[in-house]
């Protein structure tokens, strides 16, 4: 049981990562590889700020850090016309060094007693399971607040512009909107959320690790896709919510696999491979379905002739 509560909390915290990826991938229609390091950038920035004694301030700092990363990628792919995927890769590999510098040249930076969740638990006298429940509840409340802000935001004028830019940039330009500025804004928001997720995970695990962002893009994709598979692709509001839910479900599946020891000693090791396989299969379903539908049915024709 405890394991599943932990899974719920992790799913919620990683849910913001999924939402960030939903924004770049589904709304802006850009596979944004920046996430592969803006997650760690958020974690590093938050860890340094928190270790210096400002745990709450560390969250807005992470948001700004992520937005900066998104801004660089956005600038590269709009004004400087670098291919979107390459732009993401460039920012990603550059950020690796920056993350190391931010973390004072160590690959792993502990937050010590300044981790938000630790501070929270210290306020009450709780048993181990109560701590987990409290953590999950606080994470859920935080996630819901973020979702409400985002859902409202995507109903504003700027929100509509961001969505339309991914849909039909030519029409956005014809509506006297600066496409480049909108795209950059969208990438800033997406990466800010990813970095916030990284910061929260750092607070949750008590340290920031240089390798924490490995595989975040595929994780986010998996969450978005699982969400869509279950709740359908219907509009933005539902998409944002189902990304978080997809993340939770994914974490629960993983916990289940590990707990049941489905793959023996390799259960925990195989996580990333499983994630990749799930994403690959789900992404290829439309092509497979189309192929099956277009198959020439010779039998029926023979009967008719």
């Amino acid at each position: 049981m405890q394991l599943y509560i932990t899974a719920l909390q992790e799913g919620l915290l990683y849910g913001l990562l999924a939402v960030g990826i939903f924004i770049s991938l589904r709304m802006l229609n850009i596979p944004d590889l920046t996430t592969e390091s803006s997650f760690g950038f958020g974690a590093a920035a938050a860890a340094v700020t928190a270790a210096a004694g400002h745990p709450i301030l560390s969250l807005p700092v992470a948001l700004v850090a992520g937005a900066l990363a998104g801004f660089v990628t956005g600038l590269l792919q709009t004004k400087l016309r670098v291919h979107p995927v390459l732009a993401g890769i460039i920012t990603m590999s550059g950020l690796y060094s920056i993350n190391l510098i931010v973390m004072h040249n160590t690959p792993n930076l502990p937050l010590g007693d300044n981790a938000i969740f630790k501070l929270l638990y210290a306020c009450f006298e709780l048993s181990a399971i109560q701590k987990k429940i409290l953590g999950a509840v606080v994470s859920a409340v935080f996630c819901v607040i973020m979702l409400i802000i985002l859902i409202r935001f995507f109903k504003t004028q700027l929100g509509l512009c961001i969505r339309a830019t991914g849909d039909n940039p030519e029409m956005v330009r014809a509506s006297s909107i600066n496409v480049h500025a909108v795209k950059i804004t969208g990438l800033c928001i997406s990466n800010a959320l990813v970095a916030l997720s990284g910061a929260l995970i750092a607070h949750y695990s008590g340290y920031s690790d240089i390798h924490s962002s490995n595989g975040t893009l595929v994780y986010g994709l998996a969450a978005v896709i699982i969400g869509e598979a279950i709740f359908g692709r219907r509009g933005v509001t539902l998409g944002l919510i189902s990304s978080v839910l997809g993340s939770i479900i994914y974490k629960i599946i993983v916990t289940f696999v590990v707990q049941m020891n489905l793959f023996g000693d390799y259960s925990a090791t195989l996580m990333k491979l499983m994630c990749a396989v799930i994403v690959a299969i789900t992404l290829s379903i439309p092509a497979i379905r189309e192929k099956r539908q277009n198959r020439y049915n010779g039998k029926e024709r023979g009967e008719n002739a």
Partner: protein, 264 residues
């Protein structure tokens, strides 16, 4: 109103593919005038529109709109006062967004801050009333995604988006060419009513010479990047398709003669 003088554009200059698409074109549009443009492929019709909209910049010449020089103004800035409907119904709208969201995008841009709610109840009422005028049944489908609409319905939405905030100039780039005849006729009807109701100044490219002569109040023919025929008033009212084609071939012959004198 719109004033275009000595507009020139050459594609791939100084190469074997060099092509003078616009050749010192002059055009003056009076306030509220509806001009139809005809011309064979490559005559420079679309390039003229692109230059007015800013999707391409001309090599020389000037374009002024209501006293403002827009020759080199960025595309998204001049889009504030120029509305454009494309031939391709896919081009003018965002397919995965709903009708009301598309309309809101066009409607609110000039009147609201970027962080205010895009669609209020009042806006919704307004969209409903505006759509109801065209009798396409779209007023009850405000929350339908554009991708589910037919080409004709999409063009209606695009037309409304372009004119919901009255533009200073409306450009119609063969906007009925991709539709079936019935839908095309309906869209032309709607176009006429929108233009006359809002007293819009408009330019319309068409390949249909008959509708070019019957729509609007002036017809120009482009050839090799220049206006070779400019008809209005009584002369235009009497003109038939055959006469116009005849006039065209005579002009062409004359031009060839001039050229042969020039090169002899």
């Amino acid at each position: 109103m719109l004033n275009i003088s000595k507009l020139s554009k050459t594609f791939s200059p100084n190469s074997q593919f060099e092509r003078h698409v616009l050749n010192g074109l002059d055009l003056e549009l009076k306030d509220g005038e509806f001009v139809t443009i005809i011309g064979s492929n490559g005559a420079g019709k679309s390039t003229l529109f692109n230059a007015i909209c800013g999707s391409i910049l001309p090599d020389s010449g000037a374009i002024t709109l209501n006293g403002r020089d827009i020759t080199l103004m960025p595309e998204h800035k001049r889009a504030k006062f120029i509305g454009r409907v494309f031939q391709d119904p896919m081009k003018g709208t965002a397919p995965s967004m709903t009708i009301e969201e598309n309309l809101a995008l066009a409607y609110s841009r000039s009147r609201k801050g970027i962080l205010s709610t895009a669609i209020t109840r009042k806006d919704r009422e307004f969209f409903k009333a505006s759509l109801a005028e065209y009798g396409m049944g779209l007023e009850d489908r405000l929350t339908t995604k554009l991708s589910l609409l037919s080409g004709g319905q999409r063009q209606v939405v695009t037309l409304l988006m372009c004119t919901i905030v009255t533009p200073e100039l409306l450009l119609l780039d063969e906007h009925t060419a991709a539709l079936d005849p019935a839908a095309a006729e309906k869209i032309m009807e709607i176009t006429n009513s929108i233009v006359s109701k809002n007293h819009l100044s408009a330019l319309m490219i068409t390949h249909n010479i008959k509708s070019a002569l019957s729509t609007g109040d002036r017809t120009i023919m482009l050839d090799a990047g220049k206006i070779i025929i400019d008809l209005s008033g009584e002369e235009r009212a009497k003109m038939t398709v055959d006469q116009l084609l005849h006039l065209y071939s005579e002009k062409k012959k004359l031009e060839l003669d001039e050229d042969s004198i020039l090169f002899s």
